[in-house]
């Protein structure tokens, strides 16, 4: 087992990474021993992992009640949040409850947000069961729900007490979801770490084949990168914004199609290409870096272009995204492979040009 520590003072926590860590009762005991546990999962994950993790919680001394939600990004809304809160209150959980989120990013965001606001905040543990959630949405305390006007527009920063990233559970992940998770790994590389990009160029086939050592390397490296960024900037006022590389374009692509058509990672893949293309057009980045990004995403089997959404609609959605300050779009652009920066001075004309270039 490998451990990545997220250093946030009194809110510091650990990410345990390895094959089979889901079964390790000693790991989760400090979070649940002698407490009631609100275990929240979904209909897809429950048949595979619910009984197994519930046993781990029992072995750790927790008394578990479970809520099994429908699966899907479209459930990440007010209605489901209220359903979770109603269930928790109906179960009469006190402030000493531990919320455990067993699932992908949607379950983590929903259960984490519920934990953030239930009786003004209770403890929670995240057990991410997708590659995307393991490398991204389980790290850094972002929780929230979507709104018809955009993704993650309502939420809270609420740090978990522990994250359990079991590589072995990815064996049952659909291939398409695994590839979407790799998009975020690629994002970490291009935004922050040129060495990770080089490693991916050599190891992408092993990663897609679910080689455990490759998965552990990728998850650990991404968590280390994110932990470093989050420790420096918990509330996303500065460097943390770099993790949004590809996301302003990506969120707009997701919203325009309706959530659930493209996976988040697929939208981020195409969004990264748009942001890199824009970086090239602005003279920030050399064209070869853009080609390396496209090549890596194509080898991973990910989309690299706008599937035909009208430009005006995409730009309007981008303006509705959270990354607007003082009326100007803030975009994460690339200066090099592994070197992202935030720019708020890009005209909509230039953005439109890149959307046009990247429309298939």
């Amino acid at each position: 087992m490998e451990t990545v520590r997220v250093g946030l003072g009194e809110r510091a926590y650990s990410i345990a990474i390895g094959a089979g860590v889901l079964d390790d009762a000693s790991l989760v005991a400090p979070q649940v021993s002698g407490r009631r546990v609100a275990l929240i999962t979904n209909e897809t994950v429950a048949p595979l992992l619910h009984a197994r993790f519930a046993r781990t919680l029992a072995n750790a001394g927790g008394e578990t009640a479970s809520l099994i939600l429908p699966d899907g990004e479209e459930t990440k809304n007010w209605h489901t949040l209220q359903r979770i809160i109603d269930w928790m209150l109906g179960e009469r959980f006190g402030r000493d409850v531990t919320v455990a989120a067993l699932g992908g990013g949607v379950i983590g965001d929903l259960a984490g947000f519920a934990a953030a606001v239930y009786q003004r905040g209770v403890r929670y543990v995240q057990v991410p069961t997708t590659l995307l959630a393991q490398v991204d949405s389980s790290v850094g305390g972002k929780t929230g729900i979507n709104h018809p006007l955009g993704k993650n527009l309502v939420g809270a920063f609420h740090q978990p007490g522990l994250v359990i990233a079991d590589i072995a559970v990815l064996d049952s992940l659909p291939d398409r979801e695994l590839r979407a998770g790799v998009a975020e790994v690629v994002k970490y590389g291009f935004a922050l770490d040129g060495e990770l990009v080089a490693w991916l160029e050599s190891n992408i086939d092993r990663l897609i084949a679910r080689d455990r050592d490759a998965l552990i390397h990728a998850v650990r490296r991404c968590c280390e990168l994110k932990a470093g960024v989050v420790a420096a900037d918990e509330r996303e006022s500065g460097v943390r914004a770099l993790l949004n590389f590809g996301h302003t374009f990506g969120h707009a692509l997701e919203a325009a199609q309706g959530y659930g058509i493209w996976l988040h990672g697929e939208a981020v893949a195409a969004g990264m290409v748009m942001a890199a293309d824009l970086s090239v057009k602005l003279g920030l980045l050399d064209r070869q870096a853009l080609q390396r990004l496209r090549a890596l995403l194509i080898r991973t089997g990910l989309p690299v272009s706008n599937p035909g959404i009208a430009m005006d609609r995409l730009i309007a959605l981008m303006r509705g995204d959270k990354k607007v300050e003082g009326g100007r779009l803030r975009l994460v652009l690339l200066r090099s492979v592994g070197g992202a920066e935030v720019r708020a001075d890009v005209s909509e004309t230039r953005i439109a040009e890149s959307i046009r270039s990247c429309t298939s």
Copy 2:
């Protein structure tokens, strides 16, 4: 103008107390200058104070849009929270918006909770316009909404950047609301500060007559007491719980009658008598202290008994309150005038006896 500083490290803020501070643009400028402001108020307060405070915000360099909500505790729910969020997203406020809450505790709790979760948290300023809100709900960062199963069961800790407590606006407060606010002043005295109780016994008539010096003294002393407690215990794991003196009984009285029948302060008044009666029955407190509490509340014109709610219903509601840990009710009891303590070892039989004694 007097200032009380709430020392919470990077979340520290000031409470400005005085007559006319609402008009002081220099006070609010650091919070709003060059920013958009989401001014949230209600239909009762708006005709009296909206135009005036909007002018202050404009003079301070803020660009204000306003939302005027219906008045009343029954609006403190999911529906109104969603309405605020929908309005804010519709106005396209960015993360740099400042939410300004102009109103009593309900507006403060709603607008504060919206500020806590809008795009995962934005800045906010509270302008409490009731005595209750000035001495209590505007200090300490508690925000939230009610649920059919109990009060304030969903919410967040979110500290304001500034609190403006203008004593002069209390001139237009209905008499009943003023008296309900005094209940919380009495609470601070009996829970934490025997000297404040003695001061109240000498000055209660001046306070009810809205003598400005008396109001400033009461508001400042309560804010100082609360600031001290909150600085020591932001998340209510310890000493902050003492501020709930009278509230576990009080919340149950409110919930049983339906919110809006009794004012919060009225329910807390009767709840304090029940908690003090229980303290006497348990041999913690001398009977004379209970008599002083009852006398002070009666002089203030506040209820001092259960208006006939069935005992089983009250106890069930108390168990549904947040202050349950490990299955036992946690109650704030008195050992002396100004000396409260938390007890989790009181049997429901003893609680029932006190409810019976205090039923009129």
